[in-house]
């Protein structure tokens, strides 16, 4: 069968040129199939768009949740940094004594800084926060004790707890509150959220595989005759598979781009209420945005998912197509 091109007759040089021409042919086919599959998608704009939109929706939910949690983690770090103790002084303690106690607390080895909030200041803050100025203004006497906000040097929960015990022993201090519980709760909530996001990402990633797989399965079915013919005249599996893999990758890329668009749109839409809410809590919380690296990661993942979905679908399907 082999014609006169026996290896022995060919020099090393011609073998090298043959290898490089084969590589060029391979690259040419990749380019041709990449373009061809893109053209096929464009020729059916509605169907392609619907598939991409389905992919986008599957990507937006986990990606959006992840984004929120990512910025919540920043917030969370900010909060932990500002973890403070509040020492409430006994009601009978006057302003002068309060200042002395604050100084004493500030001199403690484990304390970085203190800030005294006198009873009057506490009242003012309270009124402002609640917007109840007038109602409380009419009270005969100020029911709030003076307090000292203590910034600890060490923020490890155990160290903080020890500090609480020591400060409570100081005369004039009625009670020391450690507001760590809610910080911890927030951290746990964030961890929960992250896990949910991960589970969603896995689930919806599988969804993307199924969406692409089903679309590609239909495409393979509609080009069945073509596959049979090229197989008859000596096409390899890789050759047959290639256009479908590119279709899958295009679907994934398109879905990823749409998902980016949706995420930005959603971000804009939510930005105003979210920042207003954050300001009302005295926190700084900007609506999260996907940066360049994040966007690139999303696109890469979606493209790979599309490619993989196509690969699985074509692989399963090709086995069932035998030339007649």
């Amino acid at each position: 069968m082999s014609r006169d091109d026996t290896p022995a007759r060919r020099g090393a040089r011609s073998q090298r040129t043959q290898a490089s021409s084969r590589l060029r042919a391979w690259g040419r086919h990749h380019r041709a199939m990449g373009l061809d599959s893109a053209r096929r998608l464009v020729r059916q704009p509605l169907g392609s768009l619907l598939t991409m939109l389905a992919i986008a929706i599957a990507l937006v939910l986990p990606a959006g949740l992840w984004l929120m949690l990512d910025s919540a983690r920043l917030l969370d770090a900010e909060l932990a940094e500002s973890a403070t103790l509040t020492a409430y002084l006994e009601p009978r303690v006057g302003e002068g004594e309060a200042m002395r106690i604050a100084e004493a607390l500030g001199a403690h080895d484990d304390v970085a800084a203190v800030r005294l909030i006198t009873a009057a200041e506490g009242m003012a803050e309270f009124q402002q926060a609640l917007g109840l100025g007038d109602a409380l203004g009419r009270l005969e006497s100020n029911p709030l004790p003076a307090s000292v906000v203590v910034m600890p040097r060490q923020e490890a929960p155990a160290a903080m707890q020890a500090l609480v015990d020591e400060l409570e022993a100081v005369t004039g201090v009625e009670e020391v509150r450690l507001d760590l519980a809610w910080v911890e709760r927030l951290a746990q909530l964030a961890e929960l959220g992250r896990r949910v996001a991960l589970a969603l990402a896995l689930l919806f990633g599988l969804g993307v595989l199924l969406i692409v797989g089903n679309t590609i399965r239909l495409a393979v079915e509609s080009r069945r005759q073509e596959i049979e013919v090229v197989t008859l005249i000596g096409a390899t599996h890789a050759f047959v598979r290639r256009p479908f893999l590119y279709s899958g990758a295009w679907y994934g890329l398109g879905g990823g781009l749409l998902a980016l668009g949706l995420l930005n749109l959603g971000g804009h839409w939510l930005a105003t209420p979210v920042s207003a809410l954050a300001v009302s809590y005295g926190a700084h919380f900007a609506m999260p945005r996907l940066d360049v690296a994040g966007s690139a990661t999303l696109l890469l993942c979606s493209t790979l998912l599309g490619w993989l979905g196509a690969w699985i679908a074509v692989g399963r399907h090709l086995a069932s197509i035998r030339p007649r």
């Binding site: 069968m1 082999s2 014609r3 021409s21 084969r22 042919a25 391979w26 040419r28 086919h29 005759q225 073509e226 049979e228 013919v229 090229v230 197989t231 008859l232 005249i233 000596g234 096409a235 390899t236 599996h237 050759f239 030339p323 007649r324």
Partner: protein
Amino acid sequence: MIVFEHVGKRYGGRFEALANLDFRVRRGEMVFLTGHSGAGKSSLLRLIMRLERPSRGRVLVAGHDIERLHASQLPFYRRQIGVVFQDHQLLFDRSVFANVALPLEIQGMEPREIARRVRAALDKVGLLYREKALPIELSGGEQQRVGIARAVVNKPALLLADEPTGNLDPQLSADIMALFEDFNRIGTTVMIASHDLALIARLRHRILRLREGRLVADEEAA
């Protein structure tokens, strides 16, 4: 080139389409395969392409037992055989040119070389002026000739043709047969299944006659 050793082929376990075929075709030979409809001509050709596997016996092509070919080797095996299919097997969503170019594209040939060879092949079957047409716009005979052009475009070492002149008028049939003879003259082994007894008798090549799956006559070239 082709050796059949006691080859039998059953479809679905019971029906015996081919039985005890034992013959060889030498390299560079031109052979006609004839017999009534259902005699097993297409089945025999499909065995050579390894689209079917023998139920018994062995088929050797170019000295290789093709049963032993691994699935990954099959495409490369098939590229060395040019086949004209009884039902053309053209792709109707692309031009005549693209159809004929297909075997060369599969091999990754340079586009310029492809164009040159495709035009040469189309010229040989007299369809160069239809290169841009879609197969659907062609007559049955013209489609058949596109299939022939595709089979020969790769200059295969072995050419198999299943009823290549089934839809052609006598003049065109004779031209196509002459084309196959040209290929045979430059060393291609040719095997043609045909009903057209008058035509093949005139051409004076070896004839294998099948009846109900059995080889009933092997007439050497006169």
